[in-house]
């Protein structure tokens, strides 16, 4: 399998006044194509810093980071913006959709910054992705007219629209109720089955049951890195939930 992400002895220090905060103290792992990895840790464990680094928003103090075979850590701001645009799909806890904007326009957003995609192709791809996440009926609904679950689906469609090599989800179910969480998780599992590579950062240990691999972080170091050979189905869990918690 192709190596999508390879990090070697990644360190990230921040200078806060006189002190140096060591957010990452040497993290190494390799993620192959088609993996669904959950990264867990309590707050302060360095998982946000790791996510920012993997998402090319931040550069490591030392260590090596190869994304899809490309060395990222020496890149300048604009090059990193381009990498984010072409290779990464972001999903955030609070969806981060543009207000008063239709689902289509929100999903088209990453392609606006890619001059090689024409307006026509942009609309086609956005529509396909929205149908893919089950929002074919709500293409032109505005973001503020949709429920949390629907908004997160739009955000997932937005993360898929540029055909990224990796999808980075930051607490993607953190703001949703249990039932909606499971339906979103079901969607992630489907994307995984279809061959997408997903990194899901969360502090919720239950989610490890549904991913193919779980990495635990503590104080900027990996404490465990285990493959899950008995992946639970989020769809079944959703069915098992009592019916009264409607979306």
């Amino acid at each position: 399998m192709k190596e999508i992400i390879k990090i070697v002895d990644l360190k990230r220090y921040f200078k806060v006044g006189e002190e140096t905060v060591k957010a990452l103290r040497g993290v190494s792992f390799t993620i192959h194509e088609g993996e669904f990895v959950t990264i867990m840790g309590t707050s302060g464990s360095g998982k946000s810093t790791l996510l920012n680094t993997l998402g090319c928003l931040d550069t490591p103090t030392s260590g090596e980071y190869l994304l899809d075979g490309i060395s990222v850590q020496k890149m300048g701001k604009n090059e990193r913006a381009k990498i984010r645009n072409r290779k990464i799909g972001f999903i955030f806890q609070n969806y981060n959709l543009l207000p008063k904007t239709t689902a289509m326009e929100n999903v088209e957003l990453p392609l606006i910054y890619n001059p090689t995609v024409s307006a026509k192709e942009r609309a086609e791809r956005a529509e396909r992705c929205l149908r893919d996440v089950g929002l074919g009926e709500r293409l032109y609904h505005k973001s503020n007219q949709m429920s949390g679950g629907q908004q997160q689906r739009v955000a997932i469609a937005r993360a898929l629209v540029n055909n990224p090599v990796i999808i980075l989800a930051d607490e993607a179910t953190g703001n949703l109720d249990t039932r909606t969480s499971f339906s979103i998780l079901t969607l992630f599992q489907r994307l995984h089955r279809e061959g997408k590579t997903i990194i899901f950062v969360t502090h919720n240990p239950d989610l490890a049951l549904y991913s193919s691999r779980n990495i635990m972080l503590r104080d900027g170091r990996i404490t465990s890195d285990e493959y899950n050979h008995n992946i639970q189905s989020a769809e079944e869990a959703l069915r098992a939930l009592p019916k009264d918690m409607d979306e």
Binding site: N52, G55, L57, D58, K77, N78, A81, K82, R84, N85, R86, F90, F92, N96, L98, P99, K100, T101, E105, L109, P110, I112, Y113, N114, P115, R158, N162
Partner: protein, 406 residues
Amino acid sequence: MIAANLLKVALKAMNNNKMRCFLTMLGVIIGVGAVIAMLAIGQGSKNSIKAQISEMGSNMIMIFPGSENRGGVRQSASDMQTLKPADYEALSREAQGILYMTPTVNGSGQWIYGNNNYPSQAQGVNTQYLDIRQRTVSEGEMFTEEDVRNAAKVCVLGKTLVENLFPDGTDPIGKVVRFGKIPMTVIGVLDEKGYNTMGQDQDDLALVPYTTVMKRVLASDYLQGIQASAVDENRTQETISEITDILRDQHRLREDQDSDFTIRSMQELAEMISSTSSMMTVLLAAVAGISLLVGGIGIMNIMIVSVTERTREIGLRMSIGATGRDIMMQFLIEAVILSVTGGILGILIGALATWMISIFANWPVAISTTSVVLSFAVCTIIGIVFGFYPAAKASRLDPIEAIRYE
């Protein structure tokens, strides 16, 4: 490609905040409107002054006896005896730059016809006076060269005199009026010209051959002045120095002696008047320009608010691949659209205001293309200048912090 997309993004953002955009634009609209209207008023009054001056003859040159820089007690020009008919003849022989020329000798007194009388001037001139002053004889005819040679007792009356001497509407042509004790035959009536810029009644005069005034009215050998028109109004200055040379020669003045005559040109007067009006225009435009500047600051203010308000959006755009430059362009385009749209509306409103001023206040106005082009350019520059700081601020945001901004 990206620029077109950014334009769409900017338009979309503005569409979401229509009221705010309009209020922001209002500053620019009022500023530009004021600049356009003020410049139109300034330009209009300048044009009308120019027109009046050229009506008076903008290529006119006036020669008076007496020096302007001689010390001691100075006499009034008409009492000085330095200009003689011989000077006039010398000028008409030698001066190349002069198109028309007339000696002037004025006598004042009472014009009398029957029971009516009116105090006015008898302007002693020759036949070229009409060409210099750009006047015509509307009834009857002008006196001839021969009348001048013979010091004939004929006169051409201005409208004001006609009205006062012939209040019952009698045709004055051929009637004999008296100037003081001297009887004169009315042979023509001048066209009506009304009051000039200085408030003088240009119809309150009578033209008489200058020889008649010299010999029969004043009994004097001297001229009170010479009026001439230059061949080319742009070469008035050269003509003036030519006249100076000829007259100094004629009067046999040495190098170190002051001239015993003074030359004035209408152009000097025109320049003086139009420089006053230019200064007014600049002043008005400056005041209006300040309001335009305030409008620009309004744009900057609202853009800064907008950048802060949309920090999360900026963070999101950056994290999905917008470069700092993309963000900067987005906000800069927004600022420029605000200012340029405001500018266009301002030009329209300024034009409307100008039109209303000309209709209701009846002021002379003229919108110049320059003022329109200039305000448009200034608006664009204002958009860029005042949009730059907020846009740069937005482009420097750190996406990690921006996206978590509450």
